[in-house]
C-alpha cells in the first residue's frame, strides 16, 4: 500500500457504502488508478458476496409454543404443590409433545395452543383453594422472580456472574 493510499478502514466503509459522498469520491478516484486499493476493494466486495451466498439455516421448530410452555412451567410457584398433579403433568407433557413438533402445523396452531394454555392455567389457578399469591396474568417481573435461568443482569451486560460485573474492556 502506498503512502497516499486510503486506510483499510476507508475501503471497508466504502464497501459498506458508508462513506460520506466526498470521501467516497476520493477513495473511488484513488482506487481507479491504484491496483493495490482496487484489488483490496474487490476482495472486500467478494467477501460480502460470499456472506450473501452462505446457505440459509432454519430452525424448523415452532419456538413460540416452546418458549411459552417454558415460561408457563417456570412461572408455576415451586412451593405451591399442585392440587391435581396428574392432570397438570399430563397437560404439560401434551404441550411439550405438541411444541416439539416441527413447524408443519398451521401457524395458528401454536398461537391457539398458547391461548388455550393461558386460559386453562388461569382457570386452574382460580380453582386453587389458596388464593394465588401472584396476579394473573403474571407480569414479566413476576415471571422473572420465579425463574432461575438467568442472573439478574440486564441485557446489554456481559457479566458471566452478577458479582463479576464491571466495565467490559473487550468491548472497546
Amino acid at each position: 500500500m502506498n503512502r497516499t493510499c486510503p486506510p483499510d478502514e476507508a475501503l471497508s466503509a466504502l464497501a459498506d457504502d458508508a462513506l460520506p459522498a466526498e470521501a467516497r469520491t476520493e477513495v473511488l478516484t484513488h482506487s481507479a488508478r491504484c491496483p493495490l486499493c482496487a484489488a483490496r476493494l474487490a476482495e472486500l466486495r467478494a467477501l460480502h458476496d460470499a456472506f450473501l451466498a452462505l446457505p440459509a439455516v432454519s430452525l424448523q421448530v415452532d419456538l413460540g409454543a416452546r418458549v411459552i410452555a417454558r415460561l408457563q412451567a417456570e412461572a408455576e410457584p415451586a412451593a405451591q404443590a399442585p392440587r391435581a398433579p396428574g392432570w397438570r403433568a399430563r397437560w404439560l407433557a401434551l404441550v411439550r409433545s405438541l411444541s416439539a413438533q416441527p413447524l408443519n402445523l398451521s401457524p395458528y396452531a401454536g398461537a391457539t395452543a398458547a391461548l388455550v394454555m393461558g386460559l386453562w392455567l388461569g382457570g386452574m389457578l382460580l380453582e386453587v383453594e389458596d388464593p394465588p399469591s401472584q396476579p394473573w396474568p403474571p407480569s414479566p417481573n413476576v415471571t422473572l422472580a420465579a425463574m432461575s435461568l438467568f442472573d439478574a443482569v440486564p441485557p446489554g451486560n456481559l457479566c458471566p456472574r452478577a458479582d463479576a460485573c464491571g466495565p467490559i474492556g473487550s468491548a472497546q
Binding site: 478502514e9 471497508s12 476482495e43 440459509a56 417454558r70 415460561l71 414479566p140
Partner: protein, 189 residues
C-alpha cells in the same frame, strides 16, 4: 425491517408487557429464525444454538419492561442474543482467538469443475474461517454482512461508538481475509 413489521412488533410488545403470552409467541415466531441464524454461526453447534435461542426469548420476556421503542425489537433481540452467545462461548472458554492448525481449510482437496461445487466449497471455507477468528470479529461480521445492520445499529448492539464500529469492521474483515480468500465467480451458482 419494514415499518409495518416494526409496528406489528411494537403492538405485540405492548401486549406482551402486560402479560399477553400469545402476543409474545407471535414475536418469537417472527424473530426466531434471525436469532437462531446468528447464534448458530456464533457457536457452530446446532443443538446448543437451538437451546440458546430459546433462552434468548425467555430472557427477552423477562427484560420486556426494559425495551424502549428507540431500538427496533429485532435489534434489541440481537443484542440479547449476542450477549448470550458470548456468555456461552465464555463458558466454553474459547471466546478468545482459538487458533486452529493451518491447512485445515476445506479447499483445494479435489476442486471440481462445476460452479455449484465451487460455491459449496467456498461456503464451507467461509464457515470454517469464521470459526477461526475472534468472537469479537465474528459477531460484527455476521451482524453486518448477514443481518445487514447499519453502523448505528451495530454500535447499539455491541455497545461501542460508531467510530469504533468502522475500525472494528475493518479489522474483522482483515482478520477473516487472512483465513479466507473469496473467489470471484464461486459465490453464485
Amino acid at each position: 425491517m419494514s415499518d409495518a413489521r416494526a409496528a406489528l412488533d411494537a403492538d405485540d410488545v405492548a401486549r406482551a408487557r402486560v402479560g399477553d403470552m400469545a402476543a409474545f409467541a407471535d414475536l418469537v415466531r417472527r424473530h426466531q429464525e434471525r436469532v437462531f441464524r446468528f447464534i448458530l454461526r456464533m457457536l457452530d453447534a446446532r443443538d446448543e444454538a437451538t437451546e440458546l435461542t430459546q433462552d434468548v426469548f425467555v430472557k427477552a420476556w423477562q427484560a420486556l419492561p426494559d425495551w424502549r421503542p428507540e431500538a427496533s425489537f429485532s435489534t434489541w433481540l440481537l443484542q440479547i442474543a449476542r450477549n448470550a452467545a458470548l456468555d456461552q462461548l465464555r463458558r466454553r472458554q474459547i471466546v478468545q482467538f482459538a487458533p486452529l492448525e493451518d491447512g485445515m481449510d476445506v479447499a483445494d482437496a479435489a476442486p471440481g469443475p462445476e460452479a455449484r461445487y465451487a460455491s459449496r466449497q467456498q461456503q464451507e471455507r467461509l464457515d470454517r474461517a469464521l470459526q477461526r477468528i475472534a468472537a469479537e470479529h465474528r459477531e460484527i461480521l455476521l451482524l453486518r454482512e448477514v443481518e445487514g445492520l447499519a453502523y448505528g445499529e451495530l454500535a447499539r448492539v455491541l455497545g461501542i461508538a460508531e467510530g469504533t464500529v468502522k475500525s472494528r469492521l475493518a479489522r474483522a474483515r482483515a482478520a477473516l481475509l487472512e483465513h479466507f480468500h473469496p473467489q470471484a465467480g464461486a459465490t453464485h451458482e
